[in-house]
């Protein structure tokens, strides 16, 4: 790693200004992705401005989880994946998030990696992560995955970059209609839908989120779950642990008079952004749940898929994990 200075500043305002005005200064939360970039030589910051050093009420809000008076749940950006994973029973209706957190990375990483860092991490594409390769994400002319080895790359929404979004928590949060609070450099806090955080490659292939330097993701808020709301997350990996998913699905739904209502479907690790499948939602909304319906919805979800020559296997895999998540959320046993 390059030499750098650790900067501990107790106030958000000063930390934000420091990053916005100092060449080479970056914010650090859990630091898992940041240290990885530095060790690989992809990034050489002059200063690490520590979010964990934020003190007082601001720091406590970053580190804590709480329930608003109206029942909304707020998770601070520094809450770790391990903390979220432990919440499954308390997270009635929001189980998908805890399930996703419980299967991300490894137990040791989950004790360090934060909610904010998980959402803002850079892609795991091996071309992007290779220091000697100049891909589209690093200012090059083309996505090297398109004509290279793209077995782990996008089947939906690909082009001009074919990365898959690396966050496992983003999908559940999209399905659960979460919002995020972002502190601007001028100190104003804006609340946006989680989907607006992510930037697709047609907008800007160099970035995956819309935050400017010095802007700070403060927290994620989950809406009050509707009565009877259920959610589920399912994924497929080559290894059961310490591996990145090949495909993930998160669903949220509730039952009303035997019909599915308020269905939201988000797919992960198949597109450059957490992929909301409105096709699957349309196929499910207002229908009576059944194995046949879920299979049709899964077909609909991958309808727009344009797999590359080397990753067509992801189409049926994606359908499979979506069916698994739907069966779990609707509490209908899987047919197989």
């Amino acid at each position: 790693m390059n030499r750098f200075t650790i900067v501990r500043i107790p106030s958000l305002k000063d930390a934000s200004n420091r990053v916005a005005t100092t060449q080479g200064a970056v914010l650090r939360a859990g630091g898992i992705d940041l240290l990885d970039h530095m060790k690989e030589g992809l990034q050489a910051p002059s200063e690490l401005v520590e979010l964990h050093a934020i003190g007082g009420d601001e720091g406590m809000k970053l580190r804590s989880m709480d329930v608003h008076g109206d029942g909304r749940r707020r998770l601070g950006a520094l809450v770790t994946l391990a903390q979220i994973a432990e919440l499954e029973e308390l997270f009635e209706g929001h189980q998908a998030l805890a399930q996703a957190a419980a299967h991300a990375a490894t137990p040791g990483i989950r004790n360090a990696a934060t909610l904010g860092g998980n959402l803002l991490q850079r892609p795991r594409c091996w071309y992007y992560r290779h220091v000697d390769l100049v891909c589209l994400k690093k200012g090059g002319d083309m996505c090297l995955a398109q004509t290279g080895d793209h077995r782990y790359h996008a089947i939906l929404g690909g082009g001009p970059s074919y990365i898959v979004h690396p966050s496992s928590l983003a999908g559940p949060l999209v399905a659960l209609e979460a919002t995020i609070d972002v502190r601007g450099v001028d100190g104003t806090v804006r609340t946006i839908a989680i989907e607006e955080l992510f930037v697709g490659p047609t907008v800007d292939p160099m970035r995956e989120h819309c935050l400017a330097p010095g802007e700070i993701l403060l927290s994620v808020t989950l809406p009050v779950p509707a009565p009877g709301q259920r959610s589920a997350h399912a994924m497929a990996k080559e290894k059961q642990s310490q591996d990145w998913p090949l495909a993930e699905a998160s669903v949220r739904l509730r039952m009303d008079g035997g019909k599915l209502r308020d269905v939201r479907v988000a797919l992960g690790h198949v597109a450059p952004v957490p992929w909301r499948s409105k096709e699957a939602e349309a196929a499910l909304e207002g229908q009576a749940p059944s194995a046949e319906l879920f299979a049709r919805a899964a077909q609909a979800a991958t309808g727009p898929a344009k797999p590359l020559p080397g990753n067509a296997y992801k189409v049926p895999l994606c359908q499979g994990v979506l069916r698994q998540a739907l069966h779990e959320a609707a509490q209908i046993p899987l047919p197989e």
């Binding site: 859990g30 520590e50 709480d66 749940r73 903390q83 299967h103 137990p107 004790n111 990696a113 399912a234």
Partner: protein, 222 residues
């Protein structure tokens, strides 16, 4: 497709789940009862004397003090020095192993305030004022812990390179376990899910931990 492991009743970290959620109305109360070491900031960083003052460390060597296996230690390291490097190179504590250096194999696991952490993916200065336990700290001098004896009895190591990390994961699991609750094989498997063993000795590790958890340990050395 892997079945999600059943986490109901799994040991719950150093955190109480109910303690994690607090009504907004109690925010001021909360301010007075933050236990930063384990309950609200398990992923947290350094504990510094005056956290209200801005501080800049480095880029040259700066002393960092923390508790290592029960003893207060100090090392003068650059901010870029990982905890793993500081332990191995500056503090002569070579139990944690450098293997992948990317948080992928867990051979470098240590306990930081009781939680397993990848020491290769932390900076040495992150543990200022905190308690670090390496595999050296699991035994009392030359006397191995019950878990370590069980590893020996069950032949839970082959080449041994993953063993210090395995022991840290398993020790954390046993320490977090609510008293009297039995452990399941799934819980042990979940706990060592990050520990890569190229020899494939996992079943023996699980057997060793379950034996210790059952309390029916044969006498050490037997």
């Amino acid at each position: 497709m892997s079945e999600p492991a059943n986490r109901r009743g799994a040991p719950k970290g150093g955190l109480t789940r109910r303690g994690l959620f607090r009504g907004v109305g109690t925010a001021t109360l909360l301010g007075g009862c933050v236990d930063r070491t384990s309950t609200t900031d398990p992923g947290g960083h350094a504990v510094v004397d005056d956290a209200t003052a801005p501080a800049e460390l480095g880029p040259d060597r700066v002393p960092v003090r923390f508790t290592l296996n029960g003893e207060s230690v100090e090392a003068a390291v650059e901010p870029r020095t990982t905890l793993l490097d500081a332990l191995r190179l500056d503090l002569d504590t070579t139990g944690p192993k450098l293997v992948c250096d990317r948080g992928s194999c867990s051979a470098c696991l240590v306990l930081v305030d009781g939680l397993p952490r990848n020491s290769c993916m932390m900076l040495a200065h992150d543990v200022a004022g905190r308690e670090v336990t390496t595999v050296e700290g699991l035994s009392k001098g030359d006397e191995l812990s019950a878990l370590q004896h069980a590893f020996v009895r069950h032949d839970a190591l082959q080449c041994g390179f993953c063993t210090s990390g395995m022991l840290i994961s398993c020790a954390a699991l046993l320490r977090r376990r609510p008293k009297g609750e039995p452990l399941t094989a799934t819980q042990v498997q979940d706990a060592i899910a990050g520990n890569l063993c190229r020899c494939g000795t996992y079943p023996h590790v699980v057997a060793a931990v379950l034996e210790v958890a059952s309390g029916k340990t044969e006498r050490a050395g037997a």
